[in-house]
Every structure is written in C-alpha cells, then in structure tokens.
C-alpha cells in the first residue's frame, strides 16, 4: 500500500536528484503508456516503462532504483522520441541507473553489470575493446561456457579479423582518463 504523504516525502530527495540530473519533469507524465507500447525490452522488465514513471511520481523511487528494468533498459530512446509529453523517458531511466549505483543498489542484474564493468576494464587495459577476451571472461564468470560459442567460427571467417587487436600506444593517457573519472565521479 502506498501511504501518502509519507511516500512522497520519502522519495522526494532522490526524485529531485533524478529530475535535476536528467533535466526532465516526471510529473508531466499522464501515463498513456506509449513508452511501453514499443519498448523491445519491456517484456523482460519487472516494471514496464510507464510504471517506472508512475512509481517515481508517487515517491516509490527506491523501487525504481532497485528494479531490473532500470538495468535492462537498452537506452534505445524509442520511448523518448515517442512520448506525447516530450519527456526523455530513457534519460530518466538512465539517470536512475546512475543514482542506483551511487546509492549502492547493486544487486539486480549482476550479470549485466558484470559485463559492463568487464567491458570498461577491458577498455582501460587495452584502450580498445578486445571482443574475444571479453566473451571468454564473461562466459567463465557466468559459468555459461557455451554462450555464443557457435558464433565464433562465423566471425573467424572474416578477412583481416584480429584475434588480438593492437593496443593503443598512449595507455598512460587512458589511465589518466579513468583516474579523472574516479576522482570526479562517485564510482
């Protein structure tokens, strides 16, 4: 049960933070559901996009931050371009994702978080993405060793395919970028 006004006041600070960072006005949503209508990932969400917006409106911000939906959003921005109120729905969800991280809500969709982290440390190390090692590492960590293995020969067929693409030269600069992020951001 949602209890007003307790619910609103509990979520107020987080909602204000999400609205400020995304530059969006959540209260403008009138729940038409057009965001959900053509969302390709919504079937895998725990809350469809319009419900995420509603939860924010009623102050249930933590539910949104902890939701699988916020993690699974592809940021394809289809909802944002179709919203009749011109709300950047994807921007709101994306902001929720960041705020969730900062609030330490990191339990949902661990695989996905793992993959994104792995991607970034891969980039930190090489300066560029090393697809093969990412695949192997990810499958190993998720104990799903056969995942996409059948695709490998298809890729290997391609000419000039580098199993080990060259690293970038100025790796110190790359490290400085990551250091700067860790200094400025709240990661």
């Amino acid at each position: 049960m949602i209890r007003f006004p307790e619910s609103m006041s509990a979520g107020a600070a987080l909602l204000a933070e999400i609205e400020r960072r995304s530059g969006q006005q959540v209260s403008a949503c009138y729940q038409c559901g057009r965001c959900t209508s053509t969302c390709v990932a919504a079937f895998a969400f725990d809350y469809p996009p319009h419900t995420l917006m509603r939860l924010l409106q009623v102050g249930m911000v933590r539910e949104v931050l902890a939701s699988r939906a916020a993690q699974l959003c592809l940021d394809c921005m289809t909802c944002s371009t179709r919203c009749p109120m011109e709300i950047d729905v994807a921007g709101v969800i994306e902001t929720a994702k960041l705020v969730a991280d900062e609030a330490g809500l990191k339990d949902t969709e661990r695989d996905l978080r793992l993959l994104r982290r792995a991607f970034l440390s891969n980039v930190r190390r090489h300066g560029r993405l090393h697809e093969a090692s990412l695949l192997i590492w990810f499958n190993f960590r998720t104990h799903n060793f056969m995942n996409d293995i059948k695709l490998v020969p298809l890729v290997l067929r391609k000419k000039n395919f580098h199993i080990f693409p060259p690293r970038i030269k100025n790796r110190r600069q790359m490290l400085r970028i990551f250091q700067e992020i860790n200094r400025g951001g709240k990661g």
Binding site: F43, L72, L74, D75, E102, V123, K158, I177, N182
Partner: protein, 286 residues
C-alpha cells in the same frame, strides 16, 4: 579532394572488418580521402555512460575528438554507436565548463572538441552526387528491394545528433535509389534490435531482431541495409539463433550500406566480405 579523419572504432577492426573494407573501397571510388585517426581509443559504447557518474561516456570519445583536432574536413565514424558517442561528447563539452576542464586535465592539455562529426550516411550524402553514382552503378542492385534499417543511435536523441527525421529517417534512400534499388516503406526502420544485450540477455535481442526481420520480409525486402555493426551482429550473426528459438526459417541477408553500394559499383561479394556473413546466400539478383 576532401580528406576526413577516419574513426573506425573497435567493431570495424574486429567483428566488422568487412565494413571497414567496403567503406574504403567505396570511398576510393569517389575520391574521398580517409586518414585513420592516430592512436584512437574505444568510444565507450553503451557501458561507459552507465557507470561512475556517466562522465566516462564523455571523456573516452573526447580523447578521439581531441586527436582529430581540426586537421581535416571533419571526422567520420561509420559505426552508428561511435558516431552517437562522439556527438554526445561534443554536445556535453560545449555546454559544461567543468567537464571541459576535467577532460583537459586528463588529456594534459585543453581539449579540442569542435571538429565536424559525421556519420557514414552523412559523409556519403555530402561527397557522392547521386547522378554520378547512378552513372557508375552497374545495375547489380536493379530489381532488388532493400529495407533501410537505421536503428536507434544514428537518429536519437534528435537534439544531440541533429540528423534526419528521428521518426522517419530517409537519408539512405537517395543513394540506394541512385544505385538502382527499390526502397519500400519499412515501418521498423528505427525500432531497436536489442542492442548490446546479446551476451547477457540474449532473449531481448532475439525477440527484437526477429520482429524486424519478420516485418522486413512482410514488406518484401530482399535484404536489409544498415550502418551499425551491432545491428548487423544482432540481425545477421544471430539469425540462426532466432531460427533456433522461434522455429522460423529466415535467410534474410543484412548488408552494410557500403557493401550495397559496393555491389552496385561492381565489386564482387567476396571483395566486399559479403560471403563471410552468416546469411551469405546472395539475394537472387546478386
């Protein structure tokens, strides 16, 4: 001759080498100079903006913008994702002093970010005269019906990429029409293919991509044309996975725009790397 800084991005150097190759072939044909960016780095793709406050999604592409500087007529990123990240970084840097300062700190000098960022379609539209293309096309696309698939990040968010009509983009059409193809109205040209979920949440990708292929076939297309390596991956490489899961029997070729144009210009499917695609059964007219 115009010369552009060329930002291939990770895909064009690994899983999408044929995109790189066909792009260079087509560029050569029309005298477009490509100068690969010295020591470029990954644009950050989808994960970077989702972690550590999101600024990594700006600093990584910013380094590339900085390297490109003002040396050429702009920087071209054929990968739609890379294009989007570069545009996004440019947009944020132009309006956020603090971010600019921090980026400069990481780079060791004030960041240069104002270079003209172009996607592949933009570049080709700028450099190729459709009449010239029509003259040089050898008729290999004539009689072919191609579905133009733009995906998400080429046109969204419109206020940042500022490219084409976000709800109904049409900029690929003049080139492909000049090359001889027929372009039907394809209602799923901007529906998402499932993005980077292929590894961790495959069902999202398969469901989304299946829908695109299904509607494309309904529209009677012989092949889909894209400019995004990730879309290609989901639609072509994973087409067999789609068939396995949904019990379908799709064999819809997916071509990069440069491969389609390359065919029209007389290059062979082998030269263009089409034969290395998962669905490499050439469309009837090839």
């Amino acid at each position: 001759m115009s010369v552009y800084s060329y930002f291939p991005g990770c895909s064009l150097k690994s899983g999408a080498t044929e995109y790189d190759r066909s792009f260079r072939l087509v560029a050569d044909c029309f005298g477009i100079g490509l100068d690969e960016l010295e020591d470029w780095n990954c644009c950050g793709a989808s994960p970077a903006p989702h972690h550590w406050g999101g600024d990594l999604g700006i600093l990584l592409p910013a380094r590339n913008l900085h390297i490109a500087g003002a040396s050429h007529d702009g920087i071209v990123a054929p990968c739609a994702g890379c294009f989007n990240r570069l545009k996004y970084a440019q947009h944020e840097l132009s309006r956020n002093d603090d971010l600019r300062r921090r980026t400069g700190q990481a780079l060791g000098q004030p960041v240069h970010y104002q270079t003209d960022v172009l996607n592949l379609v933009q570049l080709l539209n700028r450099e190729i005269d459709p009449e010239d293309l029509a003259r040089r096309a050898r008729g290999r696309l004539s009689g072919m019906t191609l579905g133009t698939y733009y995906g998400c990040v080429l046109v969204r968010p419109p206020q940042i990429v500022r490219y084409d009509d976000p709800a109904n983009p049409v900029k690929m059409e003049p080139l492909l029409k000049a090359a001889g193809a027929t372009i039907p109205y394809f209602p799923f040209k901007t529906e998402c293919c499932g993005s980077y979920m292929g590894l961790a949440r495959k069902e999202i990708v398969l469901r989304a991509s299946r829908r695109i292929i299904e509607v494309a076939l309904e529209c009677g297309v012989d092949a889909l044309v894209t400019v995004c390596p990730l879309c290609y991956q989901n639609l072509d490489l994973r087409q067999r996975q789609i068939n396995d899961v949904y019990g379908t029997d799709y064999h819809l070729p997916v071509l990069y725009l440069t491969q389609a144009l390359g065919l029209a210009l007389g290059f062979s499917p082998e030269e263009l790397g089409i034969e290395a695609h998962a669905v490499n059964r050439p469309p009837s007219a090839l």
